[in-house]
């Protein structure tokens, strides 16, 4: 199924009903989707750097000079995409019962002796970018490290946007 740009824009805004979304989920995928989504996202952004890969609801790997960096839609730059962007965040640790029970009813959240909540915020806009539920002392998890060159060159059959 080939979705038009307008439909995809509505999907990204969360405006499609289940009846509209279901065929998009169930049908064959449109092979042009990647490029269409990047086009839509690029138009929305207030900054000019070229998106290389959408990484997150708010974060993008973009081309900045000779570098590939992670950038928030608010404009905050997290630096080299090969370094976990979470290590550039502002972080709140919820490791007491009181802090857990600010969010979850009694007995319906973790026991902080066993597991704490870590909230990762963008230092620019303070959007909540990630929540980790991990035991105290667990290393920060680096969720996704894409192989950008392999993706573009071997799978899409073209150079990445920053390599012409």
């Amino acid at each position: 199924m080939k979705e038009d740009k307008k439909t995809l824009e509505r999907m990204l805004r969360g405006d499609l009903s289940w009846e509209q979304l279901k065929p998009i989920i169930a049908d064959q995928k449109d092979s042009n989707r990647f490029d269409m989504i990047i086009e839509i996202l690029q138009e929305k952004l207030k900054w000019k750097e070229q998106i290389i890969l959408p990484l997150h609801e708010h974060l993008y790997i973009v081309s900045k000079g000779a570098k590939r960096i992670v950038k928030c839609d608010c404009g905050y730059e997290f630096g080299d995409y090969k370094i976990n962007w979470k290590t550039k965040c502002r972080i709140r640790v919820r490791d007491t019962i009181e802090q857990i029970e600010e969010l979850y009813p009694k007995d319906m959240g973790s026991d902080p002796k066993w597991e704490e909540l870590r909230e990762y915020y963008c230092p620019g806009c303070f959007s909540l970018l990630d929540v980790e539920a991990v035991p105290p002392g667990y290393p920060v998890i680096f969720n996704f490290l894409p192989d950008i060159d392999k993706f573009y060159e071997k799978w899409l059959g073209r150079n990445p946007p920053d390599k012409g």
Binding site: E57, I91, D107, G137, P139, K154
Partner: protein, 738 residues
């Protein structure tokens, strides 16, 4: 004189298996196949052939399930059938509980490797039974029947069927026993045993088997159900061969598997991004104050780190390197369980709707570290409730692949995780009144088949209608459960608020139920689910995990008087700080923050509360549309206080209109307050690093957490090295444990 093998062209099955494995290794394709010649030459015939086998398997399942009597099989559909090559690779599968399609493959291969061809021999009409996790099963409660299929003296394949039992004769009644700590607690074991010939189950086997479980009627009918399905599959294979010819059949079954392998590679290239994906989940085993046997009286926490590397050719590796150790508990997983789990995830995320067979299995490299909960390497441990680790652990795979799906633009496919198909209240008792007086009833509610699904990147998660691990996404009818567990009738089943994981898109919500003991004696009750940790790997991109489980029960109650006087009784536990149990009941009311409890005794008019799992959320909750929040409130999915605290939405119930109203201005102010709190209460990564590192070095971690780290550090040099590098610890750092 050397006897002729029962395989193709006089080969033994062992020779066939060795040749198959050699070709796969050398050519990196199934059986060394280089082109799908049958599909290329006549795609219509090829597709029709596959559809006919697939149709026969589905038909066999749909017919056979009516032979069974257990509601777990008939209502929830906990059965499936598969057709296998002579070497044991699955060609096509029915609908149903797909975790077992690859597990039966391992069972067949076990028999081949162990020389069953010579002793006890494999003949037309033989029937084999298997439920041993050491040779391709998840836990003893899943029972497999396997039959060989011969054509003109050659073994040309196997048919296999599996059903989930209500009881397996373990240390306590039930199907997923949390108090089992060694193999000898797990219930009756059948390790690929011949139990029949000439298409008939031997009488001595059936007599023994029925005495080995607490639900003999269900056992007998389940056995007949599996055999009936297998015989239907065998007939369908004969019809296929009569129509297409044996040569076509032999070539077709191998090409269909190779196509399954190729499909996975193509799908990976279509949907994902090459690279490295990681996520971790955890599980609590709070046994210190519960276990009956001294060695098991410890609190433990399981570490489920997953790394997926998607490669240039579309294959990928899946590693649990860094997993913590197995031990004296029921949550150990053997290879069959892990591979079955991987299979379920693949069929749900990537290879649904096409050639679903063992081809996909061959496109994935696996690493289940020896000594870990994912491969303890000790056959004498218990493998009775591997789901305790398996279910949360594989949420990581779903989350990992979702990062790729998102980056590729397929946001509608993103799912950070699924609800825990657990909290299966279990046990049973004996009727002491009524027409069934003296009869045993089994408590095996399979409401676990209706869980909340995680949110996607473009919509909310499905409420109470998803089960990653079970075939029918259905809570089941209360009336049906009460038919076979009449000693514990429901007082209510209603939507329970605040279960759904928070986010821009919330996870699926779910129900809570209240039930009481009636007309019974000798009642045992237990349950298993996370409680002290959040389920799975949590939310994604700012979404929160769904709420944890807890236990609530009331004993020595005045429920009998309440009924006689027609007074209010508890039908929910919507407010855990001011609950209906406390307000309406007199008696001993016990709340525990844990989800997994050992069996306790209950008496008539004792009451339990239980609830199913929600799904994790996606995105920042402050970005959730206020219209969606209003709907959540109207649907009872969240309370106004949680909505205020988490989503920053101020609401009030309109008694006249009987609906919730949102105060937009107050909401905007509240959301600003939360944003400011984020600034005030957060710290830089450098401060965070110092703060967290101290927890490692000052010895203050809880013992279960320390042991988890110690296990992972000892079992994996790689995981240990990264851990030490992250916290800048010395190379010889060890976690001190008692």
């Amino acid at each position: 004189m050397e006897s002729k093998g029962i395989g193709w062209d006089g080969k033994s099955l062992k020779e066939m298996l060795e040749e198959s494995e050699k070709r796969i290794e050398e050519k990196k394709s199934y059986y060394g196949i280089e082109r799908l010649s049958l599909k290329e030459e006549n795609p219509f015939k090829y597709e029709r052939a596959y559809a006919s086998l697939r149709g026969a398997l589905v038909s066999a399942r749909e017919t056979a399930l009516h032979v069974a009597a257990s509601p777990i099989v008939t209502e929830i559909g906990e059965l499936c059938f598969g057709l296998y090559t002579p070497e044991g690779d699955s060609i096509a599968v029915s609908t149903g509980i797909l975790v077992h399609i690859h597990t039966m493959s391992e069972g067949i291969k076990f028999m081949i490797r162990e020389g069953y061809e010579e002793d006890p021999t494999i003949n037309q009409g033989d029937i084999f039974l298997n439920n041993d996790p050491q040779c391709g099963n998840v836990h003893t409660t899943d029972v497999q029947t396997l039959i060989p299929i011969f054509w003109e003296g050659e073994l040309i394949g196997w048919a296999g069927g599996v059903t989930h039992q209500i009881d397996i004769g373990g240390i306590t009644p039930g199907h997923t026993l949390v108090s089992s700590i060694q193999r000898f607690d797990d219930g009756v074991y059948y390790t690929c045993r011949k139990i029949g010939s000439n298409d008939k189950i031997w009488r001595d086997h059936m007599i023994n088997a029925k005495k080995a479980v607490r639900s003999p009627m269900y056992w007998e009918l389940d056995e007949k159900c599996r055999l009936a399905g297998n015989l239907m599959i065998r007939d369908a294979v004969y019809e296929f061969i009569e129509s297409e010819g044996i040569d076509y059949y032999k070539k077709f079954i191998r090409e269909a598997i190779e196509e399954g392998r190729q499909i996975l590679q193509k799908r990976v290239k279509e949907r994902l991004i090459p690279g490295r994906y990681r996520a971790s989940s955890f599980m609590d085993l709070p046994m210190k104050h519960q276990a009956w046997v001294p060695i098991a009286r410890v609190d433990r926490m399981a570490n489920h780190p997953v790394e997926i590397v998607v490669k240039e050719d579309g294959t990928f590796s899946l590693s649990f390197d860094g997993a913590s150790a197995g031990g004296a508990n029921a949550f150990n997983c053997d290879k069959g369980a892990m591979e079955g789990g991987q299979w379920v995830l693949l069929t749900q995320i990537l290879i649904y709707g096409d050639k679903v067979n063992d081809g996909a299995y061959y496109a994935v490299e696996k690493d289940y570290p020896l000594g870990s909960w994912a491969n303890p390497g000790d056959p004498y441990l218990s493998y009775q409730a591997p789901w305790g680790n398996l279910i949360p652990a594989y949420t990581t795979m779903m989350k990992c692949l979702s990062y790729g799906l998102f980056a590729r633009g397929y946001r509608e496919e993103v799912v950070p995780g699924y609800g825990f198909t657990g909290d299966s209240i279990q046990g049973g008792g004996v009727y002491n009144a009524g027409p069934l007086k003296g009869e045993r009833w089994m408590l095996s509610t399979f409401e676990i088949s209706g869980q909340g699904l995680g949110a996607s990147a473009v919509r909310d998660g499905l409420n109470w209608g998803y089960a990653m691990w079970n075939p029918e996404s259905d809570l089941g009818d209360v009336e049906t459960w009460e038919l076979f567990q009449g000693g514990i009738p429901y007082l209510s089943r209603k939507v329970k608020p605040n279960i759904a994981g928070y986010g821009k898109y919330r996870g699926g919500g779910n129900y809570g139920s209240v039930a009481f003991i009636a007309n019974s004696e000798k009642v045992e009750f237990f349950a298993g689910r996370e409680g002290l940790v959040f389920h799975g790997s949590g939310g994604m991109h700012g979404g929160y995990p769904n709420s944890t489980s807890y236990r609530l029960q009331a004993t020595n109650t005045n429920l009998k008087e309440i009924f006689q006087n027609k007074l209010d009784y508890p039908i929910s536990d919507d407010d855990t700080t001011n609950g209906e149990f406390e307000r309406f009941l007199q008696g001993d009311i016990e709340r525990k923050p844990i989800g997994t409890i050992y069996p306790i005794s209950l008496q008539n008019y004792d009451i339990i509360h239980f609830s199913e799992s929600g799904g994790p959320g996606y995105g920042d909750p402050l970005e959730r549309k206020v219209g969606s929040i209003k709907q959540d409130l109207d649907d009872g999915l969240y309370t106004s206080e949680i909505v205020r605290r988490v989503f920053g939405v101020i609401s009030e119930f309109d008694d006249t209109a009987k609906e919730w109203k949102i105060d937009i201005e107050a909401t905007n102010k509240r959301r600003e307050v939360i944003r400011n709190e984020r600034k005030e209460k957060s710290m830089t990564f450098e401060d965070f690093w110092e703060y967290e590192r101290k927890k490692i070095t000052d010895g203050s971690l809880y013992e279960a957490v320390k042991v988890m780290y110690s296990d992972s550090l000892n079992l994996s040099k790689k995981w240990g090295k990264e851990f030490k590098q992250f916290w800048k610890l010395s190379d010889d750092f060890q976690m001190e444990v008692k």
